[in-house]
């Protein structure tokens, strides 16, 4: 997911009886389905976990611009170029909504950015994979945005008001992106032999990294249990992953593509697909910095920040000059 392996307090959720009066009132408000707003009292653990989750989510949107941005200059038609550019621009917009929502919890965008640039804050593992052919623009929309939507749709009901509202806007755009991705997949899969081969190659490379987006099984995780009690996480990772496989397998069949999993099969009893787990060793390597593109992705973000310092300083200096001259005139 865009926020993977979010550590919470590390303790099991407290029972209502063992909570202080404030904590109890807070939890009951969440249990009633009411929203928590920035000025409301909240446990420190709730604030910190949310900041970590929203920060990771925002960083994923920003780093997520890079793999698709890689193909804007080479998009094959004017229309495809326009759609792709608009999509990558949307990702920057999502980052902006999420940083703004996270700022309501008392941490500035600059602080969060510094955490990303130094490697202290994480972003989704998926964006550390390369985009190697045009069909990857289809696969990213179809699979990566498709997986993201699985998590983001329930997050529209999350307990923190600014996060939930940001998610409403983001989900509208993400589902549009997913349809655009699938449209590219259709053109490629039903196109020439070479195009179809590109489509299959994209699916081969993006299938397991997409399954990894949901994170490892967390039904036993105390972090997930606490986040679910606070309604900042709505579903278990395996639940969402299964939903994703069940939705995607028939779409791959429609496209005439083969999902690279020999065990993938419809199970009459469970009424869902059986599938193979991704390689979790690879997942942990990628999130700890050893994926194929981790170095390039962080280097690109650091370069943008460092090279832009004069620009930000220049605008700030001008704004200070104008404020001073206004004060002098008054």
């Amino acid at each position: 997911m865009y926020a993977q392996e979010v550590k919470s307090t590390g303790s099991k959720p407290k029972s209502l009886n063992s909570m202080s009066a404030k904590e109890k009132a807070f939890q009951e408000k969440i249990d009633r389905g009411q929203r928590i707003e920035p000025k409301d009292w909240m446990p420190e653990g709730y604030r910190r976990t949310l900041l970590r989750q929203m920060g990771q989510h925002a960083h994923s949107e920003i780093v997520g611009q890079l793999p698709e941005g890689n193909w804007i200059s080479r998009a094959p038609t004017l229309e495809r170029k326009t759609i792709l550019l608009a999509k990558v621009q949307d990702e920057a917009g999502h980052g902006l909504y999420l940083y703004s929502a996270a700022e309501t919890l008392g941490k500035s965008r600059d602080e969060m950015t510094k955490e990303l640039l130094s490697g202290r804050a994480k972003y989704s593992s998926i964006f550390n994979y390369p985009t190697l052919n045009w069909s990857d623009m289809g696969a990213v929309g179809w699979l990566v945005d498709g997986a993201a939507i699985m998590n983001q749709v329930p997050l529209q009901r999350t307990s923190y008001g600014p996060y939930a509202r940001a998610m409403v806007r983001i989900c509208k755009e993400e589902s549009f992106h997913q349809r655009q991705g699938f449209d590219i997949m259709m053109k490629m899969s039903f196109g020439s032999k070479k195009q179809k081969a590109m489509a299959q190659d994209s699916l081969n490379r993006f299938w397991y990294p997409s399954l990894m987006m949901f994170g490892p099984s967390d039904s036993e995780s105390v972090h997930s249990a606490q986040s679910m009690a606070w309604k900042i996480k709505i579903n278990f990772n395996d639940e969402l992953r299964q939903k994703f496989v069940d939705q995607t397998a028939p779409q791959a069949e429609y496209l005439g593509l083969t999902i690279p999993d020999e065990k993938l099969k419809w199970n009459e009893k469970t009424e869902q697909y059986d599938y193979s787990e991704p390689n979790w060793e690879e997942f942990f390597e990628v999130i700890s910095g050893n994926g194929p593109c981790n170095t390039e992705r962080l280097a690109a973000r650091n370069k943008a920040w460092d090279d832009g310092e004069w620009f930000r300083d220049g605008l700030l200096a001008n704004s200070t000059k104008n404020q001073n001259s206004q004060i002098a005139a008054e």
Binding site: G69, I72, L78, T82, V88, G93, A304, R312, D313, N318
Partner: protein
């Protein structure tokens, strides 16, 4: 003899296309998120203008081409964009100054073209004007603020202006087609725009504390398809998929 409006449509469309192509490479790499979004927006508008102008060129040319074939299957000598828009991105100061110089010319040109005797030219120009007024306002504001920001930002913007200056003249290069179009009251002579464009630049320079270079020795040749070396690389990248997999549907 071919319809001289093709020359005008290609000139307008190619300028927008090449600048959008160059700007779009900043997507994900700009100095602030807001700038990233704004520059992508400008590029999207320019892509829209390119589609309208190139579509118009293809229509009056009647050779079975469309905006895409014009964009992806012409070589450098057939492109009619100015030399300024094909200058490399270099850094954000150069990119911004290139955009500003383009916007000043573009707005002036569209204001005149929106009065064209040719209904289609006027219509396309009126549509583009709405967005280009905003582009001009945005880049002007940034150039003024950065010119009058820190010493570093001032120097960077001045260096960018100096480096781009001789290519800016490429917008004001006249050709025989321009004379025909002028006689038909379709479009103004390109050179006729220079005095008012220069006046606007000088006005903005007062606010930005930047200095317009005095030289009027211009790099020329774009109207005959003689470009700078960089255009070949821009096209090689942009046209790669269409050229490698011809006759495919995307």
């Amino acid at each position: 003899m071919s319809d001289p409006r093709i020359h005008l449509a290609l000139r307008m469309g190619d300028n927008s296309l090449i600048l959008a192509q160059q700007n779009s490479k900043w997507c994900g790499h700009a100095p602030t998120l807001e700038e990233d979004i704004a520059l992508a927006n400008v590029s999207l508008d320019l892509m829209g203008h390119a589609q309208m102008w190139l579509g118009f060129a293809a229509e009056i040319e009647c050779e079975g081409r469309n905006a895409d074939t014009l964009a992806f299957f012409r070589d450098t000598e057939e492109f009619r964009n100015s030399l300024l828009v094909e200058r490399p991105n270099v850094d954000f100061a150069t990119t911004l100054m290139r955009q500003y110089l383009f916007d000043v010319w573009h707005l002036e040109q569209l204001l005149l073209l929106s009065q064209s005797s040719d209904t289609l030219v006027a219509e396309i120009s009126q549509k583009a004007l709405v967005e280009v007024r905003y582009h001009r306002e945005r880049s002007q504001s940034l150039v003024i603020r950065l010119g009058d920001g820190t010493i570093d930002s001032h120097n960077r913007m001045q260096e960018a202006l100096n480096a781009l200056w001789s290519y800016f003249g490429s917008f004001f290069e006249d050709s025989k087609d321009d004379e025909l179009l002028f006689d038909l009251q379709t479009s103004p002579m390109p050179s006729s725009l220079y005095p008012s464009v220069l006046e606007q630049l000088n006005q903005d320079c007062v606010l930005s504390t930047l200095k317009t270079p005095e030289s009027e020795f211009w790099q020329k040749g774009a109207v005959q398809g003689h470009h700078t070396e960089n255009l070949g690389y821009i096209l090689a990248e942009m046209q790669y998929l269409q050229r490698t997999y011809p006759n495919s549907k995307w």
